[in-house]
Subunit: 391 residues, 2 copies
């Protein structure tokens, strides 16, 4: 048994028995003051839940887990924090409050993506825009075929059977892109009408289009990600829709656009990442829009825990190593906003640590997503790879 | 070449050349009038796109695909209908207008689910509700363990390691269910406060809870579907969280709740079905709420096409067989409402045909979902199995 002592005057829960102090000190729990250890709320709950801790007050009254938790009931997302803290600790790894982070740990990596530039030849094609379906049809067979084969713009003929049929279908992103480039003339609609039809139907369309254009202009091929549960899938510059040998070109990356104005339920957000994972694609999160200057307050971080991970011959500790990640503690029923996430990621950059998103579901099972920044030469936007991981 | 003749007076596009008439008649296109064939808009587009059709008016002017399509531009979801019609035809199968459906074809099947009844013994337990995390903690070790082991209510100890830890966590559905049953007393919150916290956070919570309670009361175990991208996963009556031999019990069904008041983007809807498919679970759609009397107007169906499928020795045709499905033609950027879907499904029941949802993505690739009704004895709600299929 570990004896926890509630000190109402000093407002805190202390460990004072020498054997307990040594044991908790070796495990990197709490902070030492004059030979005693002061525990954080999550540490208190963990010691009571898992390490046979018992809590008493000065008068010798005992407090159950819930009696003790009631003291912290006003703490924001107490259980989200406790359950993700617990899971990390249960893996034999060390977690400390993010407030202890100091300076830049230089432990982030940057995924480098190839830059490029789309060069469109001079051409002019006509099309009809179908507002109700957000599609444009080009019925000039030769022009539609060339557009498809050279730039992979539109779908000529039939999907995966381009020889079948004579028309080409341009999706709403391709339509606007080509009209803006002065290559496509719509016989029955103006650009502004197409854009307002798109804005009316598709939420955060402007942000979706910004991401589409950003990658297209760098030479990437950007097509619907419908089959993979995301907004777009991409192919690297130079990709072609024409079968090489017996093989179709496969995309390896999907992009999900997260508008800074949007708020997403964590379970919906996780669902998109899951589909990408199940089809073995790399999931890219796009946060379009120019970054405002985000101020990081190192004394009051938004993130929850400083995570120490493993090293070759054991685990990292505050004594012998440096933290590896910052944990963002969440539950499946919470919401996350685009702007909020952008700010949290800025904080990670400040401390030179990668973000480990930890989601505790309704059964207290924790799922982890590791977030790594992407460098896409020439782009003003923020992109991140998100990877489902088991730390 | 098939010659299509635009008749402005009779407002339609006709085929009159005898060889063309025979060919199209054999393929079950259009409707015969005095030896000529009148085509529907989708048939016209198909013949022009795929079967080398050319369109002319009385004066001998020629019309391209787009020129012709312009006549139908006001038709609702013209391309959604055309592209899904085309895909079905491209498979060598026959599709006709849903308006031709007559009477009840008796071709639906019903997935029968076991009925049951949850019997809870007399007990009373205490808990603390954590509003910010929508979880309840029970710290009476024996009571929490029994609740978990006997009814699989809550998560005792640690997920997949119940021996680790002493507390039990009840999710928001379990919390409300047990309070309503008079088995759980929350020391710090009233039922109404718990319900309003849930309503505030979770969209359509009342419908979500209705589905939860409906299956729980029939003896099913209902837990979070977070890992499978849906609202719930279920286990059949009698399921236990206790490992049998070396095997965990695996759920085979997930439930997604679609409120009649909700509207879902098709791509979001498809994403949920895709995750379930990728983890080999049966996807159940729940449409809670009492059904209003839905009137079906057989002359003006909501659904798009009457689909003839295959049979042992070939394909079904309007001559030799009966239709198998009703097609609901959609694109990935459309929305579908719960009430709208309920009405469309009612129409399928009326005609005795199953619904084949056909979704044309931005590249005109079509994905099919087959919807089959479930019978759950005692339930007032509508449930359907949705299966990704390649017809």
């Amino acid at each position: 048994m570990i004896k926890l002592e509630l000190d109402r005057k000093k407002k805190g829960i202390w460990v004072r028995e020498p054997a307990d102090v040594t044991s908790l000190q070796n495990g990197f729990y709490g902070s030492m003051e004059h030979g005693n250890i002061l525990l954080t709320p999550e540490e208190v709950l963990y010691v009571m839940d898992i390490r046979n801790g018992r809590c008493f007050d000065e008068a010798g009254n005992t407090y159950t887990f819930n009696d003790t938790a009631l003291f912290f009931l006003k703490n924001k997302k107490l259980l989200a924090r406790y359950l993700t803290y617990k899971d990390w600790r249960d893996k034999g790894l060390i977690a400390r409050y993010a407030e202890e982070a100091e300076g830049c740990y230089g432990r982030t990596s940057l995924k480098k993506y190839k830059g490029g530039k789309l060069e469109l030849d001079k051409f002019a094609i006509d099309g009809i825009f179908f507002e109700d379906d957000l599609l444009t049809i080009v019925d000039d067979e030769a022009a539609g075929k060339e557009l498809y084969e050279r730039y992979w713009l539109g779908q000529f003929g039939t999907y995966k059977a381009a020889h079948r049929g004579r028309i080409s279908k341009l999706d709403i992103f391709e339509t606007i892109f080509l009209v803006k480039q002065g290559k496509l003339h719509l016989k029955n609609a103006k650009l502004s009408a197409v854009e307002s039809a798109a804005n009316e139907r598709i939420k955060y369309f402007e942000d979706m289009y910004a991401v589409y254009e950003d990658w297209r202009q760098r030479g990437y091929v950007v097509k619907t990600g419908f089959k993979f549960g995301t907004h777009f899938r991409i192919y690297f510059p130079g990709a072609s829709p024409i079968k090489e040998g017996d093989e179709w070109m496969h995309s390896r990356h999907v992009i999900h656009v997260f508008s800074r104005k949007n708020k997403l339920l964590i379970s919906e957000w996780a669902r998109a990442i899951r589909v990408a994972h199940s089809v073995k694609k790399t999931f890219i999160l796009g946060l379009p829009g120019k970054k405002g200057k985000i101020k990081v307050n190192p004394k009051r971080p938004r993130l929850d825990f400083l995570l120490y991970h493993r090293k070759k011959d054991g685990i990292e500790t505050p004594k012998t190593g440096a933290p590896r990640y910052l944990m963002y503690s969440l539950t499946e029923d919470e919401y996350i906003g685009g702007e909020e996430l952008a700010r949290a990621l800025e904080e990670c950059k400040y401390f030179g640590l990668e973000m480990m998103m930890a989601i505790s579901d309704r059964e207290s099972s924790v799922t982890y997503y590791l977030i790594t920044q992407i460098s896409l030469p020439g782009s003003d936007y923020d992109y991140y790879e998100i990877e489902w991981t088991q730390p």
